[in-house]
Amino acid sequence: MKPPQTLSRPLAGRVAGDQPHPPAPSPMLQGGGAQLPPNVIEAAVAALERGETHYTDRPGIPEFRAWVADHLAERFGLRIDPTEVTITCGSTEARFVTMTLLAEAGSAVLCPGDSSRIRGALHILGAEIVDSVQDDVSLLYLSPDVYRETSIELLQRAEDTDWWIVYDLSFAKTAPRFHPAQNEKLASRVVTIDSLSADLAGWRLGWMAGSAAALRLRAGKQAITICTTAVSQWAGLEFLRSRKS
């Protein structure tokens, strides 16, 4: 028998026909491992040697979640409990889960900056991306690279709405101390996304933290990948600890 090329029935509308497709698969990127400090590799080797080859806690190893909570407290003065942190397979999974669970199908997602990283998830959900306020906005997507004045204006607007707010620190070119969750009126609606994609791309490590939806987001991640790769989490934790020290 010849290898099959085409399924005997049409694919789902979200991936077939003349509908816009999500971005094409990434090309192979070299590196991301060769440059890693030896202690990171040895931490990963040590984790495997002590048998860290099983499912981890669904939201991630407790030490990593605690690091994220501490980091957000130190950098932005946020009070986020480690139980509100979920370690994900890169920031891609964090974005997919937050977009598809918090934005509503048929609604608009307000994105005043680069929307390329959320376009695919929102296409699958069936939500529209807009760059100015309109009535059907259900979620505001911001990154540190959006002009601060624009962010502040939109966040003030958000105070009178029920928008979810996703603040994506991964791939940001700037690192301000400003954070939407510093506004106490908004804090319970703000999810922070970050990752180690710049340094450990092939290890697939990201996280989503905070908000009243934290447990729902955790369950959403679990439904896709159960947990994040165990050895990656141990490598990432060592990387973060050694970078800090």
Binding site: P4, G33, A34, G51, Y55, G120, T228
Partner: protein
Amino acid sequence: MTLLNPNIPESVRAVAADGTQLRYALMEMAGQMDDIITLGRGDPDLPTPPHIVEAANRAMREGRTGLTPVQGLPQLRGAIAEHMRACNGLPVAAENVMVTTGGQEGLFLAIQALIDPGDEILVPDPRYTSYDDAIRRAGGEMVMVPTDREDAFNLEAEAVEGAITPASKALLIVTPSNPTAGIVTEDRLRAIADVCIRHNLIVIVDEIYGRIVYEPWRHFSIGSLPGMAQRTITLDAFSKAYAMTGWRCGYAAAPENVIDAMARVKAVTTGPVATVSQWAGLAAITGPQDCVGDYLKIYTERRAVLLDGLDRMGFAYGEPRGGLFVWADSSSTGIHAAELSYLLLKEGRVLIFPGTAFGENWREYVRITMLEPIETLKEAVERMLPVLERYRV
């Protein structure tokens, strides 16, 4: 059924209608208790074989950890295709294969690529409820296909055909089954294939336990049958056969246009699988396979111990023909399965899962794993027996 104990914690009651969350609530409760024997989660207690760990260590030390294409390492896709041709009889090439972040993501991607809102997907009952979310998110509707203990939870073509409506698009098969440990035998799969061809149904088959099948039974892949390659999406993973759950590495085989669509979804869902896990997967599938047989021998011995214990407890069961569980009928206790699981955890310090975690109708069943050493399984039986005697109606 009498609900003897009205004091089940709110954390369990609140999620009792959601099978997946119910399992996690019980696991979290168990995690806060001391000296628990966990026969709940399907996570092999055995280690990942040393040659696989060594291959991962080599890859890390040599810096082979950069990002891969979203479909997976080309070498791994090729090796998986070769394995599926040789061991499963599937007519696939590397282009028909993609690497997924565990078997569960494979199902998620397949559903996203296939199911439109309103499409019906036929699902054998009981079911692994973690798949519900993927179907729900795509707007699909689950239609249950009954199976029963007298038939060792084998799937009947007549039952499948009886559940088909004009909206039916796909049939989900998990063989060996989680939770029932039944397998869909070759003769039944041939009859089911005929039904699928006649009604133009797509088959999504999860074969993650396909290499854990007990004598004299044999695993068979429906995608190998004439006319099925272009209507079958086969899912598998390294997690169970090689004790690699924490590596999150699985794979899917399907017609090329399905793999293309799944890859486009994966690019925005999780991106590629962790590279080190893919090197480990390559070592697993191309290296010595003795470990799979060795582990099966261990599970076979444990299964005998567990079945003996269930006999002593007065639980009936369909013959567990594959997988890592026993799906046992607990109706002789007269206690609702959720209640029973709670009592066994609280008073017996043994974690098992109630049948209601795998379908609303299974309140007289429990799922028990064999993922502890034999002495621990024996201890678990000894712990459970007095609790059952205390509360049996």
